[in-house]
Subunit: 419 residues, 2 copies
Amino acid sequence: MTFDETVLKNGLTVIGEHNPQAQSFAAGYFVKTGARDETHDVSGVSHFLEHMMFKGTDKRSAEAINLEFDAIGANYNAYTSDERTVYYGAVLPERGAALVDLLSDMMRPALREDDFTLEKNVILEEIAMYEDRPSFKVFEEGNARFYGGHPLGQSILGSPESIRALTQTQMLNYFRARYASDNLFLVVAGHYNWDAVVAQLEALTGDWEPSGASRLYPELSGAVGDDRVSLPTLARSHTALYAPGVGAGDPLRAAAGVLATCLGGGSGRLYWALLDNGLADSASLSHDAADGAGVFVGYLSTSPAEQAAALSSYRAVLTRAQDEGVTEEEWRRAQRKLATGLTLRGETPFGRLMSLGVRYQQEARYVSVQETLKQIESANLADAAELLSRRPFDAMFSLTLEPEGVPGAQPGSKPTENA
Amino acid sequence: MTFDETVLKNGLTVIGEHNPQAQSFAAGYFVKTGARDETHDVSGVSHFLEHMMFKGTDKRSAEAINLEFDAIGANYNAYTSDERTVYYGAVLPERGAALVDLLSDMMRPALREDDFTLEKNVILEEIAMYEDRPSFKVFEEGNARFYGGHPLGQSILGSPESIRALTQTQMLNYFRARYASDNLFLVVAGHYNWDAVVAQLEALTGDWEPSGASRLYPELSGAVGDDRVSLPTLARSHTALYAPGVGAGDPLRAAAGVLATCLGGGSGRLYWALLDNGLADSASLSHDAADGAGVFVGYLSTSPAEQAAALSSYRAVLTRAQDEGVTEEEWRRAQRKLATGLTLRGETPFGRLMSLGVRYQQEARYVSVQETLKQIESANLADAAELLSRRPFDAMFSLTLEPEGVPGAQPGSKPTENA
């Protein structure tokens, strides 16, 4: 594996991890914009724009874009998160240039008024779809309450109201500011010829311009406590849990990931306390190191009657770990588990594409599989103790969505305010 | 890549696909038993047994099994379907022997009465969990109605009643008949030494015995028509769709897969008819070639008010294709898409493990990525015409789960009978 990086004259960066033995080629545009970069009056615009990017350019109709992805046999998709919007695909190496051509053209969309109006219905359908997915809904609503006014609490989908009110002009302005040549980058991985990739991109993106786009990093002070909301369409209780973690650039990041695995991984302490005995059907914990702020995030799903007991057990597992730490053996097992997972994901260009792009966005440099493995291996119990000495699990917050008629639940409509 | 196959003296088969360049090793036991092999009085026993296999052996406690998977850094899991039960993991090559040792020991579980009684709660929790997952529930209930008395319509999880009534003796008898040395096989893939794998297995499985287990293949005559059931806990309408397909051994199998992709793949005809315009939030179709019988399976999710119009559009897409076929260009695009997907999955030992095992169970022989690619490439429009001349889409069945208060819905309790 070798790493390639070039900054074009227009400010566009392209990076690549070359593996001449790979049987495929993957490419993706990482746009440094997401729900956290939206003002309230355009809530949901990043995700809506992700849809619009497939609706055609000056050169291609929406149908042409879809047909061309299929014609080159691409496995492709896009996603929008708090932090970024990513457009990606994987093909056989001989169709790599066609994939880069198509993705690059898509980055300069027509954003036609007719398409914008029609696509609103698709977005509203997607928002409605999640009404029947409580394990998703509990995080949308939990995020809003935990993060309060912090940008990381903003909804990715937006609300039916914000989407209906959004204008084409607002989207165009957002696009121009955020999809500038200095606020996105292209990642390629697998079997490719670097000089050819760079030459192709210079020809394709010559007229792209920078905008000097930036991002806000206000102080995060998460909510604390246990909120509950009842909804008529539920059969089970769903709880989202939060505790303060560390951000992407923090030296304790790897330790936070290992610690979360000790507690909430497949057979961590939460498994033995809640799943092995059937008290809950899901009880997990992971650590999410976002840009400038991190969080431990958990999920608990139980019968309504057992939710209170399960939440209390869940909290007890974390409090005990905070007071007593974890054992050397637990730590080593979690390290190995994470290392294997990393190696498995790193075996394909497609698997590498995502890690490469995320780390490059966070640290503006190449992070190889080997370096990430080394970070996991060198994280130790002293790091865990330092992390736990900040007493993150004293500052936990939970939101439970549960059926109506459970004692203690607020007769809830949509929770959107910080508790 | 080279293929290895050995049948041990006890009747146990082990197969392998060797890739000396792989950075990992994957192994899995494929047990030729699933919901379709259950009698009604033990409905759910295959899945329950899958859980019990993690509860300890004569040599290892439940905790020891979990800790050992973690100690070797394994990414591991198990699943139960209509057709099979699979236990699998992936590790770094130097820990391959430890993985095979652990998985092999697990195949001879203690099945202790205490664990059986405790684990019933876990199974009942898992069944309850799906109450909030209508996109799963609609298939459990749709299968029961479409397949009628055919074994492929049997529930994988079982019902709360069948699980509560199940005895340890029933499970033991099922285990002895179905987990015999001639009714399961081990698959390995990636970086390994074949002689060492075989020698290790001979030592580990020497006392396993054959049982002569078999499977029933009654004629399938699927239900036809549109059923609807209302449930109070829904916000959206969820429809499962079925049409007769072809079984695993059928020469038209590859053509059925390409046809389903033309119609229901990412940007197939259903996309343009139902998703592009926001009429539905999901509208998909795939082909499932099971052992002895195949089926086209679709899923549709809409707002309750638009379900009738959406179902009518969905049916129209399939009927039109049945009458007029698809174009050469659509066919070629679908072929490429399937070929790329296959190549991407085939890049890792873990990805290969599943394909190897499923095809070996169905055809009792090695099917390489190259052979599968050739099968897809040589399927053509004449095959599609032959398939469509049987008029599968005249014989469609659908079950819709929808909120209460939608005109035309039956005031439904649990649908379990064939319509």
